[in-house]
């Protein structure tokens, strides 16, 4: 059988914050150019797992891991991994849109500039391509030099996605990207996520199960640090195999 093309994979991944274990023997495979959703009750470890993928947990003191994490088959837990490069390849979008207090344009080209791009024409191209990729170009093209914070919440979130795209990633991690948005802004982001998978692999953490059902191809259900079930999204929502999953998604929990 042909092996599935995985963008990310963990094997026997365990993670501790000090002595508290937050991930327990997680084996997950994130298929390339697909949208994978992680669902589960608060505190089950979704954000923690997401942060493992681009080594954001390195920033947390006392956080230790064992097991392996593979990015396109390559181990990324070791010292030799270039974390700056890794975070260029694996971008992250957070719950609260967090544009810098600068213009829309400056926000988008911030990353490329940090990584050494100086040519104005090239920066303009990157800005346009990224803003188009994040489906916000038409809304901001006439006011690229206005303050980013003057945008609506949904626009700010798409600007943050554009900022992530500007450094040329192939994986985009999203941690509850719509939690702070109204339904219309949410629908726009969801639509964008579906478009992004032509070029990118997307992993999204969401506490909104309907959202997971709408946007994702695969869904992983986590509970108390473990990945309980992982399957194609229609299977998870129509006939999950594990009773825990069933109870959670049907709202029969606790």
């Amino acid at each position: 059988m042909k092996q599935q093309d995985n963008a990310l994979e963990t094997k026997a991944l365990n993670l501790y914050y000090g002595s508290a274990q937050a991930l327990i023997d997680v084996d997950i495979q994130i298929p390339k150019n697909q949208v994978t959703a992680l669902i589960g009750p608060s505190g089950c470890g979704k954000s923690t797992l997401l942060r493992c993928f681009n080594r954001m947990n390195d920033l947390i003191p006392d956080c230790t891991i064992s097991g392996s994490i593979l990015y396109h088959g390559e181990e990324i837990t070791g010292r030799s991994t270039d974390v700056v490069e890794l975070r260029k390849r694996i971008g992250m979008v957070f719950q609260q849109p967090n544009p810098f207090p600068k213009s829309i344009y400056e926000n988008v080209i911030y990353g490329p500039k940090v990584h050494g791009v100086r040519d104005r024409k090239q920066l303009d191209e990157i800005a346009e391509k990224s803003l188009k990729g994040a489906a916000i170009w038409e809304e901001v093209r006439e006011r690229l030099h206005d303050a980013a914070r003057g945008l609506s919440g949904g626009q700010q979130q798409r600007l943050c996605i554009a900022r992530t795209l500007s450094v040329g990633p192939d994986i985009i991690l999203m941690d509850e990207p719509c939690s702070a948005l109204d339904p219309i802004a949410t629908a726009k982001i969801e639509n964008l996520i579906t478009e992004l998978k032509d070029e990118y692999t997307v992993v999204i953490v969401t506490h909104n199960m309907q959202q997971a059902a709408r946007v994702s191809d695969y869904t992983g259900f986590m509970y108390m640090g473990r990945l309980i079930e992982f399957d194609s999204t229609p299977v998870i929502f129509e006939k999950p195999k594990e009773e825990l999953t069933e109870n959670y998604i049907t709202g029969r929990f606790g």
């Binding site: 309907q210 929502f237 129509e238 006939k239 999950p240 069933e246 049907t250 709202g251 029969r252």
Partner: protein, 237 residues
């Protein structure tokens, strides 16, 4: 502790089970009306022959207005379907809950079909003279019992979620199919022997067909119940 939505979902299943029970009883009574050529009972089920079958000495304005069961059958089917759609629209059910509502929807439309076959059997009753049947109605009583017991059992499995009740459904359906063919052959030869039997045998052939369809509904319902409970598809017939 169950939340409001899950209580509503359970109540919905009870209502759908009740509707299914109503339809099965309608079929059973229709067959009884046919067996005893009881036009009044047939009329109470299927309507359409009121002038002909309801006799009363009461002056017209004191007569009780009786709505035939077929009217309730069709109104209730729409009501229940709408309730199911409302549950889906308001709660976006998933997994077992979703499969349950889907199964309920199937049960509703099957029940309506079954009730309507009952109505059709009543119409056959009107076509025959009052009195008695010929040749013990071929083997129709046996066939009716077989089909009705399958319907009863599928409803029971739905209500108890006990799949073991559905074991043997495909061989029970084979028996029905075989009977259907035997009755068909019998009727042909009876009619050949004596053309005066034609009005009887012609209705027997219709009822034969209706009952076979009812058993088929029982099998299809059984498949849906199996899917509701396990999430796996099976092919019963």
């Amino acid at each position: 502790m169950k939340d409001h939505y899950h209580k509503e979902l359970e109540a919905y299943q009870v209502s759908v089970g009740g509707y299914s029970r109503f339809a099965i009883t309608m079929l059973r009574d229709a067959f009884d009306a046919f067996s005893s050529l009881d036009r009044e009972l047939a009329c109470e089920i299927a309507g359409g022959m009121e002038n002909f079958c309801i006799q009363t000495d009461e002056p017209a304005m004191h007569q009780e207005i009786r709505v035939p069961r077929k009217v309730f059958l069709s109104l209730r089917s729409d009501q229940l379907e709408e309730q199911g759609l409302k549950l889906i629209a308001l709660h976006q059910p998933v997994a077992y809950d979703l499969r349950t509502i889907s199964c309920c929807m199937n049960l509703i439309s099957s029940a309506e079909r079954i009730g309507r076959y009952g109505k059709d059997i009543c119409h056959c009753t009107y076509k025959l003279p009052e009195g008695i049947h010929i040749r013990g109605m071929a083997r129709l009583p046996e066939m009716a019992e077989g089909a009705l017991s399958m319907l009863e059992d599928s409803l029971h499995a739905f209500q108890t979620r006990d799949l073991s009740i559905l074991e043997g459904f495909s061989s029970r359906d084979d028996v029905i199919d075989e009977l259907r063919y035997l009755i068909y052959e019998d009727c042909i030869s009876i009619m050949e022997e004596d053309p005066r039997t034609i009005p009887y045998c012609a209705t027997y052939l219709l009822v034969d067909r209706y009952l076979e369809r009812c058993a088929d509904h029982a099998c299809k319902t059984a498949e849906k119940i199996h899917y509701m409970i396990t999430g796996e598809r099976v092919d019963i017939r």
